[in-house]
């Protein structure tokens, strides 16, 4: 079952590039790109990191 997310929308609302978000999350730009494209589901720790960075809960960003 694919996991949808709003990472791209949140990132663009902050006017961050993929590289900038990757830098803040300490992952590669490719990882951010894969998450945004729905090709990769992040680990729980990375999902929590993303949620914390955007000041939201994990459920607000990721949904089944």
């Amino acid at each position: 079952m694919p996991v949808n997310n709003t990472v791209r929308r949140l990132r663009t609302s902050h006017e961050w590039s993929q590289a900038e978000l990757a830098s803040r999350l300490d992952v590669s730009r490719q990882t951010v790109n894969a998450i945004e494209g729905g090709r990769y589901e992040p680990s729980l720790s990375l999902a929590l990191k993303i949620a914390k960075l955007f000041g939201k809960s994990v459920e607000e960003i990721f949904e089944l």
Partner: protein, 135 residues
């Protein structure tokens, strides 16, 4: 990690992945040539035959360092590459073994001598397949 350093990291990764095995392959080539042309005997022959071993150890150590520096997506790609390479290598060796059992040995000594080569080829194939799908 800004865009520039991210690109540099990937450039470094690509360079490292393709050059890490260099010393090991070179040692293997030198060892093979030395065994064939110089034809040493006794303990020297064993020593020459095992020359690639420390280089291989260095390669594994450096490769693990590279993996540990990677993020979770890259680790998954590497895992998928190995998951593809391992069974395919086993299957290839098994095919040669079965053919040999049937008296159809294509090339003398192929199954075991070729194992490393099959693995490297299938690893590279698996890595590209995983990267195309995931990254």
């Amino acid at each position: 990690m800004d865009e520039h350093s991210d690109a540099k990291w990937y450039q470094y990764r690509r360079t490292a992945e393709t050059t890490l095995a260099g010393p090991w392959m070179l040692a293997w080539l030198v060892s093979t040539i030395a065994l064939g042309y110089l034809d040493p005997s006794g303990p020297l022959r064993v020593a020459v035959a095992l020359v690639p071993l420390p280089f291989f150890g260095w390669f594994v150590w450096r490769f693990l360092q590279l993996i540990r520096k990677s993020d979770e997506l890259e680790r998954r790609i590497q895992l998928e590459a190995l998951a593809i390479a391992f069974p395919l290598s086993i299957a290839t060796v098994m095919v040669f073994g079965l053919l040999e059992g049937a008296g159809l040995q294509p090339v003398s000594g192929w199954p075991l001598k070729g194992m490393g080569i099959y693995f490297v080829i299938f690893y590279l194939v698996g890595r590209n397949v995983a990267r195309r799908r995931d990254a």
